[in-house]
């Protein structure tokens, strides 16, 4: 009995894993930027009372929140090429799926954050003569973002975890490289253990930071202003 653990072959392929890690970071960065910025746009559209803005934004959010992200990625990879005249690379498909999914979720965070600001803040900025846009940019958003910070950090962590799904369309990231090494060396235990630990060690500090932010928000909220 007793499995003989041997991590040496994993570390022999450290360069391959590192290459994968770079791929993970690349798609994470792309999806984080696209997801959150598009999410802000959609969130503002959702907040708007104009039907022409509100309606499509709502449909977008509902659709992307209520379908699995892996289905979205596969749709972009296998289905979309039928409709567009150019190649869809694994990175494009995965980044599209993850970014749009994250945009839908963060849109709700942005909308909720904006709605949570007391009407008095709007009134005070309008009373100073600010336009709606100025009030939003200078007064409302800065306060809302502070409140949303824990939820947004949480979203970022989710995006990082989702990046592994890109391996399903053979995008080269950490898990994909792990698969490769495991199949070459027949050592799935060590490889997947190392990868799981790598994700945990990288993400857990972020998770703790989110907890700390949440606590800080809870304190400053109960302290009143």
């Amino acid at each position: 009995m007793g499995y003989q653990w041997n991590f040496a072959p994993v570390f022999e392929h450290a360069d391959a894993l590192l290459y994968g890690a770079v791929g993970t970071l690349r798609i994470f960065a792309i999806c984080l930027v696209l997801g959150l910025s598009f999410g802000l746009v959609v969130g503002l559209m959702r907040y708007s009372r104009r039907r022409l803005l509100n309606w499509p934004a709502t449909a977008f959010v509902e659709f992307f929140r209520n379908t699995p992200v892996l289905v979205q990625i596969l749709w972009f990879y296998f289905a979309l090429p039928m409709l567009v005249p150019f190649e869809i690379s694994p990175l494009m498909a995965a980044a599209l799926g993850i970014s749009l999914n994250s945009a839908a979720f963060s849109a709700e965070i942005f909308r909720g954050g904006i709605q949570s600001i007391e009407p008095g803040q709007w009134e005070a900025s309008r009373a100073l003569g600010m336009t709606g846009l100025q009030a939003m940019r200078r007064i409302i958003l800065p306060q809302a973002i502070r409140r949303m910070l824990p939820a947004l950090t949480n979203r970022a962590i989710e995006i990082f975890k989702m990046s592994t799904l890109a391996s399903a369309v053979a995008y080269v990231e950490l898990l994909q490289q792990g698969k490769l090494i495991a199949s070459l060396n027949f050592n799935p235990i060590e490889v997947y253990t190392v990868i799981a630990l790598a994700f945990f060690l990288f993400l857990y500090p972020l998770v703790r930071a989110t907890y700390a932010l949440e606590r800080q928000m809870a304190r400053s909220d109960s302290g009143g202003d």
Binding site: P68, A182, V191
Partner: protein, 225 residues
């Protein structure tokens, strides 16, 4: 201009149905094990005994922080080698998502339990109840009611996450879609229909959840005193 043709999808409706049944089976199994396990983890974490709280905390944090696909690979490829048992895709999937969802349910339970006012503990303890009687009779019934929205949200997330099982060739809805797409050369129609199926099923569950919440909110037995 692309010519849509849904006939090949319809011709394989039985496969899709079978896939949907399998998706529901793995979701249901994970819920059936994940909820009680989550309650146990939450109680252990809240027990105040380090020997219980610490390992429970680690399991919860680890499974919430690492990507589910990495977990699934570990349980599917690594665990069978480690404990020398055959692991079917269903077993690996059910195991992974039972534990993964239990980590999330544990936090839902914990949040619900700590949200119950201290006075409720005190009143039950003042009557002479033991801590476990207080928990069972007074705290949990109130906590569970408050947890229902978070609970439904987690269940829906779980259902979406189970699409990952397709990657280890468990014949869920997404897996069937991929098969049919390859067979019929109609990926656009197949993946669009499957995305639609997920959307409808998940939306229905969301709507049901919202109805349930409203029903509970208007019932005379409210949580305010």
């Amino acid at each position: 201009m692309y010519r849509w043709d849904f006939a090949p999808v319809l011709a394989n409706a039985d496969l899709l149905l079978q896939g949907l049944v399998n998706t529901l089976a793995v979701t249901g199994t994970a819920l059936a094990f994940g909820i009680p396990l989550g309650l146990a983890l939450a109680l252990a974490r809240l027990s105040g005994r380090r020997l219980l709280a610490w390992p429970a905390g680690f399991v919860i944090e680890f499974f919430r922080t690492t990507p589910p696909l990495v977990q699934l690979f570990w349980f599917f490829f690594a665990l069978p080698v480690l404990i020398r048992v055959e692991m079917t895709p269903f077993m690996a999937s059910a195991l992974t998502f039972s534990i993964q969802s239990s980590a999330f349910f544990a936090e839902v339970f914990r949040g619900g339990i700590v949200s119950v006012e201290r006075g409720q503990w005190e009143a039950s303890r003042a009557l002479g109840m033991t801590p476990s009687q207080s928990m069972r009779r007074i705290i949990l019934p109130q906590a569970v009611k408050r947890m229902i929205p978070a609970f439904m949200e987690r269940a829906i997330e779980l259902m979406k996450t189970t699409t990952l099982v397709a990657i280890v060739s468990y014949a869920d809805l997404l897996y069937q879609a991929n098969e049919i797409a390859q067979k019929t050369f109609r990926p656009l129609e197949v993946f669009t229909v499957v995305a639609g199926i997920y959307f409808v099923v998940i939306l229905m569950i969301s709507l049901l959840a919202r109805r349930l919440e409203r029903r509970l909110a208007v019932s005379g037995e409210s949580t305010v005193h």
